[in-house]
């Protein structure tokens, strides 16, 4: 069974790698991989997606860490409501979300023309850094980020730890920065990783809103340079795995010796 699953997952990856390194007439070549850095539009799209990912991670963590702590310590009755709210992005099709977003953005010329609100709407849609994508990706990442953080919160006695810090004179921002985030380090890293993976792979929203990101660039390039497109996909998969291993390594840094 495990072998079948292994073949099911690894087979397409191996086939893709072979497709990108196969030389016509026999042998292997790294031509397509070495061409990636110089490919037209690659650097812009990749760096833009990377920046979007970082901003989305910051937004999601700033929003969700205080929320999870607040629900755990002060508003436990709201937990089911928050769980349902964070699930909405999963049950709502991205196409419906993006159509709604596009409709709202069109209010700028239709209703807010000449007002600061219209300027703000336009600023959100700058092609070089589309902040609107950060906001939409923040919503899309909520289910994953919330669950990762919530699992972490349930695994520690957050109430006692925060009260201990408060009793020692720490303000709430300090408690969050020096106690909660370090204690939830694994969960924060998991939430960040899932968010980065989502942003680096999201195609529908960026494509419909007309922005060029890493995934849309791959699809655009695929028509003219199929091997190059697939080699970039392989590379992005490798980057994702590297991130995952990095998180595991960071989590293993603490000593494991136990007292009895």
């Amino acid at each position: 069974m495990l072998l079948v699953l292994g073949v099911y997952f690894i087979g397409p990856i191996v086939a893709s790698v072979w497709f990108t390194v196969r030389r016509v007439g026999g042998g292997v070549t790294a031509t397509y991989y070495s061409a990636i850095p110089g490919a037209d539009g690659f650097a812009d799209a990749f760096l833009r997606s990377l920046l979007l990912a970082v901003l989305t991670v910051v937004l999601v963590l700033l929003l969700m860490i205080p929320t999870v702590v607040l629900v755990e310590l002060r508003l436990p009755r709201l937990r089911p409501t928050v769980e349902i709210l964070t699930l909405l992005p999963l049950v709502l099709p991205p196409i419906a979300l993006v159509v709604g977003v596009r409709s709202v953005l069109s209010w700028a010329p239709d209703y807010f023309y000449g007002t600061p609100l219209a300027s703000a709407f336009y600023a959100l849609q700058q092609p070089s850094l589309p902040w609107i994508l950060v906001l939409v990706y923040g919503v899309l990442a909520l289910p994953f980020a919330y669950r990762a953080l919530d699992a972490g919160v349930r695994g520690v006695d957050l109430r006692t730890l925060t009260e201990a810090a408060r009793g020692l004179g720490a303000s709430w921002p300090r408690v969050l920065a020096t106690v909660v985030v370090p204690v939830l380090r694994t969960s924060v890293l998991n939430a960040a990783f899932l968010t980065v993976a989502l942003v680096m792979g999201e195609f529908t929203v960026a494509n419909i809103l007309g922005f060029t990101t890493f995934p849309t660039w791959i699809v655009q390039t695929g028509g003219e340079h199929p091997q190059l497109s697939v080699s970039v996909s392989i590379l992005s998969l490798a980057i994702t795995w590297a991130l995952l291993l990095l998180i595991s390594a960071l989590d293993r840094r603490r000593p494991t010796e136990e007292a009895t």
Partner: protein, 369 residues
């Protein structure tokens, strides 16, 4: 590798001078009320704690003792009443500005910080220099006998060691009041006894006003200057351990603190007739009729007597004293403490006579059938 408990002899380091020189402050609770939905956790609690006193709050689960402690610490806001420290009303002061040190029931060390960093946490919050933090952490770890564990992380310490570090951390900021919320309840019996004695030694050395919440009466009676017994959010009695044991103010206190026999009795001419003898009554005298006399096991005596009405059911040896369970006529069973050395012949099955010491007895209404 396992972490061995700290030996007792290393725990006698002197407390830092600046901590010793701080006078203990008075703490006053005035009419504290706290309600959780339909549950009244504190019902107008009034309590005065003298500066430098070690006061234990004792009571069954849900009596409000932890709620009272959390109200003093600032983690729980009372619905009514006031908390005064050194005459200053701190009811609305946030926990982070109350200048109190607290040790929790659950292990509360920050897992991402080592022992020294945990102890110095409060000083870092107060922007004290690195050298001062290191010095103070060292002093406090000496005080609790864990100077050699400064570089360890919490998960590398035993439960008792973690609570010692938590105590050092609470004291490092030189708090006005030390609050202990059942800090020993998660520890095994031997460590618990050792640590409670350590806490008392340190408290006496520092002279810090201390409130110690526990449900364990042996703990409360052994370390506190005074013990407050709570029931349903109200104080039943506050007294020294010996007064509480010897002269309980209410039937609840009498039955909650220590072991208490309940013997059928009658009120006769303002006194009580118990086990066929007359004794004066401590406290209120019921109007008459059948009552229960509350008698400590050590207030009873047992004499082997082939014609006696009692029969020993069990004998439990506990060192110098043995406890006998004696069945009396009418389905009554009493617990009697006797000196082990003088009672070798009192074995299960022996017929005995039970006597009552010449001292006043507390009376309670009869239990409903």
């Amino acid at each position: 590798m396992t972490a061995a408990p700290a030996p007792v002899h290393v725990l006698a380091a002197a407390a830092p001078a600046d901590l010793r020189d701080r006078p203990g402050v008075d703490v006053r609770l005035q009419g504290l009320t706290r309600r959780y939905g339909s549950l009244l956790a504190l019902d107008g609690l009034d309590l005065d704690i003298t500066g430098g006193e070690f006061l234990a709050l004792l009571g069954p689960s849900g009596c409000g003792k932890t709620t009272a402690l959390r109200a003093i610490a600032g983690f729980d806001r009372p619905d009514g009443g006031r908390v005064l420290v050194d005459g200053r009303d701190i009811t609305d002061v946030p926990a982070s500005k109350r200048d109190m040190g607290m040790v929790f029931q659950a292990y509360s060390l920050f897992p991402n910080l080592n022992v020294a960093e945990n102890v110095a946490f409060g000083l870092r919050v107060r922007h004290r220099g690195k050298a001062e933090r290191a010095r103070r952490a060292g002093e406090l770890l000496e005080l609790v006998g864990l100077a050699d564990r400064a570089d360890r992380y919490p998960h590398q310490l035993s439960g008792g060691q973690q609570q010692r570090v938590a105590l050092a951390r609470a004291l490092a900021v030189a708090p006005q009041v030390l609050l202990l919320d059942e800090p020993l309840s998660a520890l095994d019996a031997q460590v618990r006894v050792q640590l409670r004695e350590e806490i008392r030694r340190i408290q006496l050395e520092l002279g810090i006003t201390t409130v110690f919440v526990t449900h364990d009466q042996a703990e409360a009676l052994s370390v506190a200057d005074r013990v407050g017994v709570l029931r349903s959010g109200r104080l039943e009695q506050v007294a020294s351990p010996s007064d509480l044991y010897e002269r309980p103010a209410t039937v609840f206190v009498a039955q909650f603190v220590g072991t208490m026999n309940r013997l059928p009795a009658r009120v006769v001419d303002g006194g009580a007739e118990v086990l066929g003898v007359r004794r004066p009554v401590a406290g209120d005298v019921p109007s008459g009729g059948p009552v229960l006399a509350l008698v400590r096991p050590e207030a009873l005596s047992v004499t082997a007597d082939a014609a006696g009405p009692g029969r020993i059911v069990t004998r439990t040896f506990s060192g110098a004293v043995s406890r006998l369970a004696v069945a009396l006529p009418g389905g009554v069973e009493v617990q009697v403490d006797v000196a082990s050395a003088d009672s070798q012949d009192l074995t299960p099955g022996t017929a005995v006579t039970v006597g009552l010491a010449e001292r006043p007895v507390l009376l309670a209404p009869p239990e409903p059938a």
